[in-house]
């Protein structure tokens, strides 16, 4: 046992040090957030609950049912059912995401050529039933209305996803190929 050690043991310096830290922390501002009273703002590009973008002009979902999101989804949790409308257009009858199986990789967002599916900043969606996590088209559109909206959406896309369709619009009279270079 060395002398130094003896002094430490006799005078309980460790405790004093500890108490000093406690005292110091007591006087600083607390880091703990009083969740759920106090919510943490989502960082830009946060991947929360899914949403389907509502088109400004038509008020309908912007999705055309191309199925690329479903194709790329690694957990295969996107289900799309399309049909032919009376005027021979493709309509998306059902667009569903099983949120409980989603791994929030964001690949669907990246794959969508129309920037029609997004991950909102909403993360508080706990519930008691599994069904509540089965996102139907209506729920997904509501998610977008409630948690995203146009302004935020534009920024979100421009910053994080470098959309292929830079005007976020449908192709005009016919599709025109816009390369990535032109979009930026």
């Amino acid at each position: 046992m060395t002398f130094k050690h003896l002094v430490k043991t006799v005078f309980l310096t460790e405790i004093v040090k500890g108490m000093a830290l406690t005292l110091k922390t007591m006087l600083t501002r607390p880091v703990t957030r009083q969740y759920p009273k106090e919510k943490r703002p989502a960082m830009p590009g946060f991947r929360g609950l899914h949403g389907l973008v509502r088109d400004q002009q038509t008020g309908e979902a912007r999705c055309v049912g191309c199925g690329l999101c479903a194709a790329i989804c690694p957990s295969k949790c996107i289900y799309i059912y399309t049909a032919d409308s009376l005027d021979h257009k493709k309509i998306v009858e059902r667009y569903e995401i099983e949120a409980l199986r989603c791994v929030f990789c964001g690949l669907c967002v990246e794959a969508c050529p129309y920037s029609a599916v997004i991950l909102t900043e909403h993360y508080e969606y706990s519930d008691y039933s599994r069904e509540a996590f089965y996102m139907t088209k209506e729920k997904l559109l509501a998610n977008w209305d409630n948690y995203m909206g146009w302004e935020k959406n534009m920024e979100y896309f421009k910053k994080f996803w470098h959309p292929t369709a830079d005007d976020f619009g449908f192709p005009k009279n016919q599709a025109v190929f816009r390369g990535k270079q032109n979009a930026r």
Binding site: C66, G67, A70, T82, D84, H88, A175, V176, F177, N182
Partner: protein
């Protein structure tokens, strides 16, 4: 031996083939857009360009043949640069609407653009516009997407032989259009959509319903419409059938289909399908539980058996039933009920014809490879239009014709009009006389081969009919007949294709004898057209009143006892009634209970009123069908049945190739064999099957001809007749065939009036097609075809409505004028409403026992 080097790999080939084929044989991929194995090389798209040493320019691999020592490179800088340039040009006018194009994911252009294509377009000009055409109910054309590979046009012209499409306009304005304009007026084979590499010609049936990568499963099965048995793939998502596509290069059809196989599958999702059993209570058909329905049937059958004897019960099987279902059904009738009153639709024409030929030449004489037709040097078609009844077989006829084989047609064949050297359309008696006369002339030119002395005696004993007499009677020019005789006698290995119209006449047995003689004299192979997918199977399974499984006569004691011992049942020794006789017996009140499996008897037999009366007369009628057919409406119990895509089983096609039909989707209902075995259990015969494999094993055990086959053999396509060399029945018994008295036929021929004959319609198979909205949408309204002279005399124009009257009734039909028809014949197809069977009556041919239709004379009232 030719040795070449492709991408530094040495390849030795026996024959000079194209660079493309050589590369493929070595596993080297060369991209193509306009090449298709079954079409001629075209060299239009230039995507297959490759670099060949010592040749300054790039060569197209699909048209350039290899030469000794050639050094080829397929993926050099220069080649890739060229491909990129071509793709850039192709994309100038391409709408790039992959997101809604159904072809995406399986589009050749998309794949190539991904691999070689430029990332951006350099053309600032606008794109060519061409609105999508929705004029056709089934085929959607989007000519903005077309890359002008011309595969569709070549397919339609060279393979299908319909020549319905063409490329219109020039240069960048070119597009593909049917000659008829927006709406197609063609055979709707859909083979053009099979080959289109992009989404320019697509089926409208499943338009926008799927993305190719969302299809979850594929099931390879066979078509359920006709006796050819084409292979197809059913593509499924969840529990719904998305589409059927041909399997390129697979099966006997090698990827070709006809309208029924391609578009007719949608009957399985028809909303009118029955999903629960119905029992008649207080005169109304009311839903009931399965167990209730089954016990009810078993109880009633038992009662009737006790009160009226086993022979008061009869069973009819449809040609859509699988071998397994048919086998169990006949076992139930023979073993559990104790009657041989079991027959199928095959006995209306296919069976009698086959029986007749087998009687002369031995078992299996009609089992010939369909591909043999295109290799024959001459074709004789009689009694039906192969391109309408068995369309994919019909393509073989056209292909033979393209290779230069003369085609002689007797009877009406719409699809062979442009392909036949001689066509004789006349009424059925004259047809027999004409045939007799051809045979007697050919007999003079050809020597008898001496293989079958007994039959040769018959041939020599045939009454001679001079061509002059036949010409006088039929009105055909003598020169034509002489030329026909020459054409026929020059054939060395002809195919003789026989349809049902020749059997269903009162002189049918004579015609069959003349045909047999013709086949013998010319060394021809006989093909029987079969309108239903499993007619052959029904015969093989013993669904005949006088034959046991594998076509062994019931009356042969040894075989019957062997059957009885193997199966542990007692088989009654007296032959039962055939289909037509059953209906007659029912009409007379002798049949108390009738069990109809899958057949719409009212629609399928020539005399609707008579059949309806007969069915009303039956005390207890059970009908098992997918839909509430007219027959089912008379039933006391209706059981829903599963469609072909919802159950397992096997079909035997007209060349006696056994093929599997697989379960693709779940259906509402119980398999037929399960229902029958349940009933059988109640009646005291426990069949103890657990699966279709059990049934098949039993069939193999009992049937001589199916000996030792397994489902594995069938899957691997090895089940062509004769399977594993099973012993055939060689008991030809030509003795007893009466020499036809053709002279008195000629003398007594009733040439008066206008005879009505049946036209087998391409879009109407007379069964499931009726419930397929797609096929219904392309088929025209009911019509009567008549000659120009007859129409002219009555001053009728095309499309005008007339009343066609016979003894049996009258129907109103629209007029189609056809210059090929003679004045004394009109044709009516067997449509559901306004079909020929509404106004015909039948007589039974005494020899073949087939219903004869030739007594029906019509009067056209305007």
């Amino acid at each position: 031996m030719i040795t070449i080097t492709i991408n530094e790999k040495k390849i030795t080939l026996e024959k000079p083939v194209t660079i493309l084929e050589a590369a493929r044989s070595a596993g080297i991929h060369i991209p193509t857009l306009c090449h298709e194995d079954i079409l001629e090389p075209y060299g239009g798209c230039r995507l297959c360009l490759v670099e060949v040493e010592k040749v300054p320019r790039l060569l197209s691999a699909c048209t350039q043949y290899i030469t000794e020592g050639m050094v080829v490179r397929t993926e050099t800088e220069r080649v890739i640069e060229a491909r990129r340039a071509i793709l850039e040009f192709l994309l100038i006018n391409h709408p790039l609407d992959c997101s809604f194009c159904d072809k995406a994911g399986e589009c050749d252009l998309q794949d190539l653009a991904m691999k070689y294509g430029p990332a951006t377009g350099r053309f600032a000009e606008g794109k060519r516009k061409h609105p999508e055409s929705y004029d056709d109910p089934l085929i959607v054309r989007n000519m903005e997407r077309c890359v002008l590979c011309s595969k569709c046009v070549r397919m339609c012209e060279d393979v299908q032989g319909a020549s319905a499409l063409c490329i219109t306009n020039r240069g960048s304005k070119s597009y593909v259009e049917p000659f008829s304009g927006g709406r197609y007026n063609c055979e709707y084979c859909g083979n053009c959509l099979t080959v289109c590499p992009v989404g320019a010609i697509m089926s409208g049936l499943h338009r926008h319903d799927y993305r190719s990568w969302l299809i979850e499963r594929e099931v390879e099965t066979v078509c359920s419409y006709c006796g050819v048995g084409c292979s197809l793939l059913l593509q499924i998502r969840g529990n719904s059938l998305i589409r059927t596509v041909p399997k390129i290069g697979r099966g006997l059809n090698r990827g070709l289909l006809c309208s029924k196989g391609r578009f007719g599958y949608d009957y399985i999702s028809n909303s009118e399908r029955l999903d629960t059993p119905l029992i008649r209570r207080n005169g109304e058909l009311q839903p009931a539980a399965w167990s209730e329905a089954i016990t009810h049937i078993a109880r009633r059958l038992k009662e009737i058996k006790e009160n009226h004897g086993s022979d008061a019960i009869a069973g009819i099987v449809s040609g859509r039933c699988t071998n397994e279902d048919a086998y169990v059904f006949q076992k139930f009738f023979r073993g559990a009920i104790g009657t041989n009153n079991i027959d199928s639709v095959a006995s209306l024409a296919y069976g009698p014809a086959q029986r007749f030929f087998e009687r002369i030449f031995g078992q299996g004489v009609t089992a010939n490879d369909i591909h043999g037709i295109s290799n024959s040097d001459g074709i004789f078609v009689i009694g039906g239009d192969p391109t309408g009844i068995n369309p994919v077989l019909g393509l073989q006829v056209r292909s033979a014709c393209k290779k230069g084989a003369p085609v002689v047609v007797m009877g009406y064949a719409e699809g062979l009009k442009r392909f036949s050297k001689h066509a004789f359309i006349t009424n059925s008696t004259t047809e027999t006389v004409l045939l007799a006369s051809l045979v007697s002339e050919i007999k003079k030119k050809k020597s008898l081969p001496g293989e079958r002395p007994v039959f040769e005696e018959i041939i020599s004993g045939l009454q001679p009919v001079p061509l002059k007499d036949a010409s006088e009677m039929s009105g055909f020019g003598l020169n034509d007949l002489v030329d026909t005789v020459d054409t026929l006698s020059n054939m060395i290995n002809p195919s003789i294709i026989v349809g049902r119209d020749i059997v269903q006449t009162s002189t049918g047995h004579m015609s069959l004898l003349f045909l047999a003689a013709l086949a013998y004299l010319l060394n021809g192979r006989i093909y029987l057209l079969s309108e239903l997918p499993n007619e052959q199977g029904l015969l093989d399974m013993g669904c005949q009143p006088d034959m046991l499984p594998s076509g062994r006569p019931l009356t042969i004691e040894t075989f019957r006892t062997r059957c009885e011992e193997t199966l542990g049942i007692a088989i009654p020794s007296t032959p039962g009634l055939n289909y037509v006789e059953m209906i007659e017996a029912a009409h007379a009140g002798r049949i108390k209970a009738l069990y109809v499996m899958g057949e719409d008897t009212v629609q399928g037999l020539p005399d609707r009123n008579y059949v309806s009366d007969a069915l009303r007369n039956v005390e207890f009628l059970v009908v098992q069908d997918m839909f509430l057919t007219e027959t089912a409406q008379y039933a006391d119990v209706v059981l829903p049945s599963l469609s072909w895509a919802e159950k397992e089983g096997s079909y035997t096609n007209l060349e006696r190739r056994v093929q599997l039909t697989k379960k693709a989707v779940e259906g509402e209902g119980i398999e037929e064999w399960k229902i029958i075995s349940e009933m059988s259990k109640i009646l005291g015969l426990d069949m103890g099957y657990r699966s279709v494999t059990d049934i098949f094993t039993e069939i193999v055990r009992i049937s001589h001809i199916y000996r030792e086959i397994t489902y594995n053999d069938i899957t691997s396509g090895r089940c062509m007749w004769p399977y594993k060399g099973g012993p055939l029945r060689h008991d030809v018994h030509i003795e007893g065939i009466e020499l036809p008295d053709i002279v008195s036929v000629m003398k007594n021929a009733d040439e008066s009036g206008v005879q009505v004959r049946r036209e087998a319609h391409l879009f109407h198979s007379q069964n499931a097609s009726r419930y397929s909205p797609a096929l219904q949408s392309i088929s025209p309204e009911p019509y009567v075809k008549m000659s120009e002279t007859l129409a002219g005399r009555l001053s009728l124009r095309d499309g005008e409505h007339v009343k066609v009257v016979t003894e049996a009734g009258s129907i109103t039909l629209s007029v189609h004028r056809d210059p090929c028809l003679p004045e004394n014949v009109v044709l009516i197809p067997p449509f559901e409403k306004g079909g020929i069977f509404e106004i015909t009556k039948w007589k039974v041919n005494p020899v073949t026992k087939a219903p004869a239709l030739d007594g029906n004379r019509v009067i056209i009232e305007t």
